[in-house]
Amino acid sequence: MKGGIIMPAMLRKIAQRLGMLQHSFTGGIHPDMHKVTAEMPIEDCAIGSLLVLPMKQHIGDICVPLVAVGDRVLRGQKIARSEGYLSVPVHASTSGHVVKIEEHAIAHPSGMGLPSIFIEPDGLDERDESLIPILDWENREATELRERARTCGLAGLGGAVFPTFIKLVQDKRFPVETVILNGIECEPWLTNDHRLMLEHAAEVLEGMGIIKHMVGAESGIIAIEDNKPDAAAAIQQALDDRDDMDGVSVVVLPTRYPQGSEKQLIYTLTGLEVPAGKLPMHIGVLCQNVATSKALYDAVVLGQPLTERIVTVSGDALAKPANLRVRLGTLMRSLFARQELEDFTDIQIIHGGPMMGERMKQPDVPVVKASTGLLAMSAEAMGAAHTVEQACIRCGHCSEACPISLVPNLLADQCRSEQFEKAEQYDLFDCIECGACSYVCPSNIPLVHYFRYGKGQVALQRREQVFAEASRKRSEAHENRLLREKEEKAARRSRVRKTHAPKTDEAKADETKPEKKAAAEPAAVEESK
């Protein structure tokens, strides 16, 4: 059956126990890989006429612009600084002038935008040389290297764009024993990591060395899928050429989606599971993408902040695919134009891979740190024949394919019928949204879409609850305040009556008027409530 052969879990467990098979995660699928660009060397993409740099290209807090319209900037110059801990700065990808700072659409499925800095390149591509290359990183303190990673804007280049410096920490409570470089690249169509490992093996390896030094790890593994034997050979060759990388090895794993998912990769390599709600660091493991490793090398050894990345431009609707080295901020339209695609009728654009990437509503969106691939797909390739949702026939294929061992059909039903507490009980938030379940569903149920809906609604409800609780407290405080004021007023009035001596009749007649007014006021307030 196309794409659906799954080794029986029991057989696999027996084989593992007998030592015949290394650890192998449950579930998974075998989609057609379409690695048409695997043999294509990386080409440099010419810098366009406009670069748009969003103020947030990472997970975390948005950055604040440091430049103003009209300023001249250099390549690698910091143009937006971080505010908040979970953030990394943004740098200019080439030299030029800032022409605008305003909202622009970003690579987000909603089509919404973020404040962005628009740079018009001046063609000189002049670099900012303020960062000094650190050639003897083995003798430097981890904190200095960590600050270098942060200030160079490094984020996870596998697509998750988590600020790298936060992970590269030495925590005495959770020492890291193994550093894993993720060269798996299990998404179909994408070959950017593949080419990077082939053409920059030495830099990737040196980045591994820097990471090991920073976290104090003893061993390192570079994990590569077995559909990239040339990349594995290249890394192995680079490893053999060095004599200071003891404890680092190359491991080739069977091709299966989603082998490159962090949780599944850690399990396959170490047999340990990351406990729910915890991080890999809590079991002594650190994962980084190979491209992030090379970017760390660039940042530390060359003193170059993150200004470019490798992007696979491919897809079944693109006649001329390629692996391109692209400056961040380049609009996707110009990349497609370079590959001779300008007419987008009946073509879907996917940012990332087909399994976890998102559809873009239009091609005028900039390439950012998360842009691993750009695919131009026809409707048939996207499974257009499979968009009519039917009833779930409870075949169980989704549960077999799930690498986390969830029961997707029950979860999707709960999300659709808004039974979110039940969904949470069924571990909705453990879902990694890999898409294996939707891929195998014979009823074409958009399972991952339901989970995302459910997760979004739960987050929305939690936010609303927090706000409602705060509003209730404020409303109660408001009521108490009014009550207090009323009591104070009444107390003042009775004090006034007590401290003043009994008056004559005329004076008493005068006194009753204000008393009546004071008595009438609280009554009026009560009536108006």
Binding site: E389, A391, Y453
Partner: protein, 194 residues
């Protein structure tokens, strides 16, 4: 005859013992206050806007708990809150009478503000700050969009603006497949026929 007497005596004894147990349980497991009111109040959005016809969320909860009010009066809460209250009270869902508007925020046009403090007094959550003869402003993070401040303003300088949608708070809507939408239609159909 003796059989009948025995039957009567045993049943009577059983009833007596059960009654005693119930009386003790009532004393031991007694809860102060009406927990239903608090539960309903916890479901409401705490806008304190009064659109339900009651002067605040707590009075509405009390009315619903004592079955004096229907479950479909809360406008900002919308369909979801109505269904939750109906579920809690064990009654049929009822169709909402008014469409909930998009979330709003009050905004004072400070240039025109005369510093009368009438809006400050009107706000049920003290979201407007200012002082007499000083201009007033709405603390956007605290504003519930209840619109109670708009009327009292003598120079009509308060606007209700639609709350801007933040990309950080964007979430996936239901899939646009027929079956997903059918779920909603079925619920609405059910509620309107209740």
């Amino acid at each position: 005859m003796t059989g009948l007497l025995y039957a009567l005596a045993s049943f009577g004894a059983f009833a007596l013992v059960s009654g005693i147990i119930l009386a003790i349980a009532q004393k031991v497991f007694h809860i102060d206050g009406d927990p239903m009111v608090d539960k309903i109040d916890a479901l409401l959005p705490q806008t304190q806007c009064g659109q339900c016809g009651y002067p605040g969320c707590k009075p509405y909860s009390e009315a619903v708990a004592s079955s004096q009010a229907e479950v479909n009066h809360c406008v900002p809460g919308g369909e979801r809150v109505m269904l939750q209250i109906a579920d809690l009270m064990g009654v049929e869902p009822k169709e909402l009478e008014a469409e909930a508007a998009a979330p709003m925020l009050a905004f004072v046009r400070e240039d025109e503000c005369i510093g009368c403090t009438l809006c400050i007094k009107a706000c049920p959550v003290d979201a407007i700050i200012g002082a007499p003869k000083q201009y007033h402003t709405v603390v956007a993070d605290h504003c519930t969009g209840c619109t109670l401040c708009v009327e009292p303003c003598p120079v009509d300088c308060i606007d209700m603006l639609v709350k801007p949608e933040l990309i950080e708070h964007w979430s996936w809507p239901l899939p646009e497949t027929k079956r997903a939408q059918q779920g909603h239609e079925r619920r609405d159909h059910h509620a309107s026929h209740a």
